[in-house]
């Protein structure tokens, strides 16, 4: 079969949005008042009116029995993140058909999950929520809070990449005005991380990974039985350590 040229074939320019089917913003809140700490992460629909944010904050504080002085800080945090998202919105970003590796490294209550996989940024119909749901179902994760955490984590990484592509676009536009700066001037992480598809799917490559690399891409789920902190977890399962080392080696090799 002939080689298919992928990669930066047709970059399309769209207005900034999350490169997912639903344009939802990941929000992380971390508020501390009088020694009490509230940390949370969830997905928000930016089209909901601002009144919703206020009622949501109040309701959350009420449900978690937090004192009322949490609410203004929560509000501020949420509104700040939303405003930042909206500030990107009017601008253009460039979507190439890039495939980026995403990583998940979370601990939710007693479950630890680590995973890495490739995600297509150019697919504006992708759905992190569905991915999270399927992952939890497939791995038989019983704690229902893991799903949302995974979805938020994926969204955060995608948001990061999307916002970087906006700045790349801006740089390009600015550089076009002046002299012809070389194309590889941007040093954003995303570009470096993008997998060179041509190498993968070139004439000699195949879509299927080598068997010895399979274990690198398996998700790892550990349930920490006790309530000790993270150090114990590393001792319990030695695999993560070994994996981390070998991941580095493998990534150096492949790139």
């Amino acid at each position: 079969m002939k080689t298919v040229s992928l990669g930066a074939s047709r970059p399309s320019t769209v207005y900034f949005r999350m490169p997912t089917r639903d344009n939802l913003v990941p929000i992380r809140v971390d508020v501390e008042v009088d020694g009490q700490r509230y940390r949370d992460a969830f997905t928000w629909n930016p089209r909901d009116p601002d009144s919703e944010i206020i009622s949501f904050a109040k309701r959350t504080a009420k449900d978690l029995k937090l004192p009322a002085n949490f609410v203004p800080q929560m509000l501020q945090s949420i509104q700040g993140q939303l405003a930042e998202f909206r500030s990107y919105e009017g601008q253009e970003m460039q979507i190439k058909e890039k495939i980026v590796p995403l990583k998940i490294d979370l601990r939710v209550n007693n479950t630890v999950i680590r995973d890495q996989f490739l995600w297509d940024i150019g697919n504006l119909d992708s759905d992190p929520e569905e991915f999270a749901r399927t992952l939890c179902d497939d791995l038989n994760i019983t704690d229902p809070e893991v799903g949302p955490a995974i979805a938020v984590s994926i969204r955060e990484q995608l948001y990061e990449i999307a916002s970087q592509s906006v700045s790349v676009m801006r740089e390009k536009q600015m550089s076009k005005k002046g002299r012809r700066a070389p194309e590889f001037s941007s040093n954003s992480k995303a570009v470096n991380n993008a997998v060179d598809l041509f190498k993968y799917f070139g004439s000699k490559g195949s879509v299927i990974r080598k068997r010895k690399e399979w274990y690198l891409y398996e998700p790892v789920v550990d349930v920490v039985a006790s309530e000790e902190d993270g150090k114990e977890e590393v001792n319990n399962s030695s695999r993560p350590k070994k994996r981390a080392e070998e991941e580095k080696v493998a990534s150096l090799q492949s790139l």
Partner: protein, 495 residues
Amino acid sequence: MATTATTTATATVTAAAATANFVPTPTPPHPLPAAPPALRAPSTLGPVKSEAPPTPSSSTATAAGAEDPSYIITVPSYSAWFSFDSIHDTERRLLPEFFEGEAAAASGCRGPHAYKYYRDSLIRRFRARPGRRLTLTEARRGLVGDVGSVRRVFDFLEEWGLINYGALPSGSKQAKEKREEAAQQSSLPSGATVPRKLCTGCRTVCGLAYYACDKADISLCTRCYVNNNYRPGLSPANFKRVEITEDAKADWTDKETLHLLEAVLHYGEDWKKVSEHVGSRSEKDCIARFIRLPFGEQFMGPKEDRMGFENNDDNSDEPGADVSKRLHLTPLADASNPIMAQVAFLSAIVGSDVASAAAQAAISAQSRVDLNDGEIETSINSTKEEESSHTNGGSVNDLLKEVAANARAQLEKERNSIEQSLSNIVDVQMKEIQDEICRFEQKEMLMEKERQQLNCLRDLLFTDQLAVMQHQQRTPAVVTECKGDEKPKPVVNMS
């Protein structure tokens, strides 16, 4: 965790709880009649249904094959429609964001699939610990999706008692009232039969008008538009105002109509007082409605002939100045046939002699105009009815019979003539076809002849050829070398 296990208890409705907890008002929006002693089990537990006896007093049913001890989950009767397997109309109506427009085709965080996922997980979560109030925060932490949608589903379920029903730590009365309020509020938008316009900003029903944006396919209610509650990429200039038709608002209930009639009776043409009496309708609305009532048109002044009344001008100049006559009029005026009502009114006002004379004139005019019309029967009948209330019966009846007979005869004649012409047409066509056939036959004969001639010619040719060959063979019999007859041999060869 228990949430993933199937629910372990059935839902029953305890009559005592039902009647105590819900006050008659929340019949709200759903069309199913609510029967308090109805026993309702979620359809996932089919076999249990048959076991549980539907007694009017509080009854419990235990599930079969459950590890946990059975407990009762009560569902208020106005939510008896709920089932895990399907999405009910009530849900579609009250949470249209999941079902309408692009959402209907999508999945993910919009779409019926997502709705079902949220709803089922919320209810299962609650039912795992039914005594305890499920908070939104706890629930949404376990659900993958955006918190806005989860909150809306949660509120909906709570309002309808599918969640947190009976497990209210914060004073049950308060919460009950809130629920009834909410139920009533939700019944208001769903009361309208016109498809409502939803604001993409705040997901509530738009009132009179909404603002549509071409650029981004967003429609906002007035409040969101004023609050600039839309994407920063848009500006107010991009929005166009679109009015919503007011049909939904103009449903006059019977009560209001009754008030209106009373008021008109008492106050005559003083529309201010009439609208006051009616209450929530403006003067213009009252007038418009009154005119549209079956008998209201007569008060409008001279109008076109409907029944062919030729001497009607006097009658129509009485725009309801006479209260007593109107009182007489009311029983008949409510007849559904507007023509009847008009006739009744006019004849009442005018007096029997004039009315009968008018009726006669009308009949003769009609009979002159369209005799062949079958509708004359009905109009005759209606005038007949009206005439029977008057004493001038006899001559009119004869006339009517004659006219009817005439009409029938005419009808017959028409039918006959139609048949005749049809048969004529058929004949002509047959003739044509026959002529064609003759012509074809002639042509065939000619062709036959020609063929025969051709054969003859062929034979002749053949014989000629033979003759020539024989002739040639005889002469070159002397000359042996000659084979064919291709070239004329030189005489020299003859030796």
